[in-house]
Subunit: 219 residues, 2 copies
């Protein structure tokens, strides 16, 4: 039948969702045990996946030298990114702390093997991106599980795929989906840092809900 | 500081993750209250997003006629899909129940507005797919929140984007990311249905974990 979830259990999920942050600057060097690591990877592996293909792999990097190589890819992509912003935004962009690759004791690369279960996959026929989306569901499960273990996670997307492939020896047909920095933290921010910095406001949920059709008024 | 998560709260998350299913055939017609709907949309809206762009919208469809129009898109794409499978798999593919669009009382289309916060987005510069991935994180939050409310959710990906755009009047530059069927259920399956049907096995987690490098042995 599947278990009934109690209201206390439901509220625990909401507490985890609402206190969950993208962590960049608050990582502590404290080691993450293999037991905790296994629990968060197990939760990631139980994400839903299109056609049950489970297209993900998890490359767990503890070695600091390898993480420093990954960080070089961030530095290159970050310099390039700064120049894309209009001049008046550039200095603020550069002032943000956007990764904790070397400080967090653990890096986890989540990938997508698009050939995992053959060329034809149930549910991927009309929308070929569905396997990538499945790996993202695994990332989000891992992220929430980590928060539930009082671990911080930061997703660093300012790195070219090929840089990650080269450093980790990932075959060309495997897609890196996320580089995650994982570790205990000194604190979790009360609200997202880009909201605190007034880079962008939290949108009003009511403006994002449409009734029956695009543009349908909220009731 | 961000709240500490207790071990009971952590275990609640794991219970939700492990009993979470992609629901197709067990929807009940019982209505979903606006209060519960608001809670799951609020949880979705608090997913992490690249550069805090919050690119998602939620089109909530209760109207059965509109859902029947969406279902026509599934029927077309499903017929096309069957022909892509090798002949010996085709009959089994056709035998699967893959959607509950008309039976579930609620459809929710989650989209991605790629221009939401301008052309240059923090974290999307090297990896332009990151905004789509953010909408997927919102879907996964919604899915887990729904399970915590004892609601089933099924993600139907066997529909062309343009069909969804046409039926719901979605502008051409907004990307439909997911069509979700949402409702109470008669039961949740113990394990994923495609696993039960021996379409594919659950992979051994240990084979998916690499240490330090791709192919690095588990320890």
């Amino acid at each position: 039948m599947g278990p009934l979830i109690s209201s206390a259990e439901r509220d625990a999920l909401y507490k985890i969702i609402y206190s969950h942050r993208d962590v960049r600057g608050e990582f502590l060097p404290d080691p993450v045990s293999d037991e905790v690591l296994q629990r968060i990877l197990h939760a990631a592996h139980h994400a839903p996946s299109v056609g049950f293909m489970q297209p993900w792999d998890f490359i767990v990097v503890r070695d600091l030298e390898i993480r420093k190589e990954i960080k070089k890819g961030f530095e290159i992509a970050h310099r390039e990114a700064a120049l894309m912003f209009p001049e008046e935004k550039r200095e603020q962009y550069r002032s943000f702390k956007l990764e904790g690759i070397a400080e967090a004791p653990l890096g986890i690369c989540v990938t997508c093997d698009r050939k995992r279960s053959g060329d034809v996959v149930i549910g991927r026929t009309a929308n070929p991106e569905m396997d990538l989306y499945s790996s993202v569901c695994a990332v989000q499960n891992l992220w929430l599980a980590a928060r539930a273990e009082n671990l911080g996670v930061g997703w660093v997307s300012i790195i070219q795929h090929d840089h990650i492939r080269n450093v980790l020896g990932i075959p060309g047909d495997i897609v890196p989906v996320a580089w995650l920095c994982v570790g205990y933290v000194s604190f979790f921010h009360e609200t997202p840092e880009l909201e605190q910095a007034k880079w962008l406001p939290r949108l009003e949920l009511g403006t994002l809900i449409h009734r029956e059709q695009w543009g349908g008024n909220a009731t």
